[in-house]
């Protein structure tokens, strides 16, 4: 089996020197000369999305239970999307996909959501720049700019995006959503900004399966980066060279 090489590094020039200085606590103190230090970057780094980070998920397919949909339920509850009785058009932030290898009979199941690509096709095709990538690698829809053309839904090879057809009420304050705009997994950006983990990961850990791991792919000391460095993993549709932030192991 030919396993693709991982490339988590950003493109040259994507992270400026200033970004590097801004990112993380490690560089918050800069030594100018022995005994003279400059500490000026700490405050800014915590407020906005950190360009030194790249958030991602690692899903261990062997640990994912075929009958379990806790991650989907948790996402729905967290972000306030629900089925409206129109399966063709209903919201699809995350879904369970079951696969069977016809040659060996091996059956697997895994959650598929927005893969938070580095080179996201949804961003390439968006005519209003509503599809965008945050400095920390999370791909989002700015619904203030979205005109509902759905080009991104066509472009996404993972079918990760869906369009809202119905008038909505009582949305979650942290996950605004409305008719006429496209939406997808936000990697629970409101939780991540508050220092938490996505709702699906939390739910998966609560069930005891522990099939989902969340963390900073750029930090070699993070649990997820260590796991990726130690065990084989794949990106879905790696032939497209999109470098997604979501990886699967034992697929």
């Amino acid at each position: 089996m030919n396993l693709p090489a991982l490339k988590f590094s950003k493109k040259p020039g994507e992270m400026s020197r200033r970004d590097l200085l801004k990112s993380g606590g490690a560089l918050a103190t800069v030594t100018l000369a022995p005994g003279v230090t400059l500490m000026a970057f700490g405050g800014e780094a915590t407020a906005a999305a950190d360009p030194g980070k790249r958030w991602g998920l690692l899903i261990d397919v062997n640990k994912c239970d075929k009958g379990c949909t806790e991650c989907v339920t948790a996402c729905s509850k967290e972000n306030g999307w629900k089925d409206t009785g129109h399966p063709e058009t209903d919201a699809q932030w995350i879904r369970k996909v079951d696969l069977k290898d016809m040659a060996t009979g091996r059956e697997i199941s895994a959650p598929v959501m927005c893969q938070h690509c580095e080179d996201a096709p949804c961003i390439d095709v968006c005519p209003t720049s509503a599809s965008f990538k945050r400095p920390d690698g999370i791909v989002l829809v700015d619904k203030h700019a979205c005109i509902g053309c759905r080009y991104c839904m066509m472009a996404c090879p993972y079918k990760a995006r869906s369009f809202i057809h119905e008038d909505l009420e009582d949305q979650k304050a942290h996950a605004p959503r409305g008719k006429g705009t496209v939406e997808s997994c936000t990697l629970c950006v409101h939780r991540v900004d508050a220092g938490g983990t996505p709702a699906c990961v939390e739910a998966c850990n609560t069930t005891g399966h522990g099939a989902m791991m969340f963390g900073d792919l750029n930090d070699p000391e993070s649990e997820i980066a260590k796991a990726l460095a130690s065990y084989p993993s794949v990106a879905l549709r790696d032939d497209l060279r999109l470098n997604p932030g979501v990886r699967y192991s034992n697929l």
Binding site: A47, A48, D142, D170
Partner: protein, 144 residues
């Protein structure tokens, strides 16, 4: 310049007085929190620009420590209905509706955003709210 002065005078005339006894202006509901340091008149004229600027800071850059978020407006300018529950934008009592009906300016915010305050995950994730008692206290405070 003269037209601008007239416009400002009109704005001050209309918006400077919170309650017009003769029924010509909107009766603006009192907020639950502290007054804006910039002053009410400033907020009445500039709130949309402040919110638009800060929403981009949050949505595009991920900056959550902003001073003018729609959520903060909704949480503080809450108006309770006859049942004691916060009213939504469908009610003419709603803080935003009171003025916007009067000024005949359509608000699009609530096609996506909730027009009522609610407990959010961020609040629950805050370390100081980690245990159940604190959450209960928070709920009580949110009610008041």
């Amino acid at each position: 310049m003269k037209r601008l002065l007239v416009l400002v005078a009109l704005l001050v005339g209309f918006l400077g007085t919170p309650v017009l006894a003769d029924g010509l202006g909107p009766v603006i509901p009192k907020a639950t929190g502290e007054a804006h340091p910039e002053g009410n008149l400033f907020m009445r004229i500039n709130h949309m620009n402040l919110m638009k600027h800060d929403r981009d800071e949050t949505v595009l850059k991920g900056d959550r420590e902003i001073s003018h978020s729609l959520k903060a407006c909704i949480d503080c300018h809450v108006v309770n209905g006859d049942d004691g529950e916060p009213v939504s934008v469908k009610s003419e009592k709603h803080f935003c509706v009171v003025c916007h009906e009067f000024a005949a300016v359509k608000v699009d915010c609530f096609q996506c955003h909730n027009s009522k305050p609610q407990i959010t995950t961020e609040a629950l994730l805050k370390p100081e709210l980690a245990d159940a008692n604190d959450i209960a206290t928070y709920l009580k405070e949110a009610e008041e």
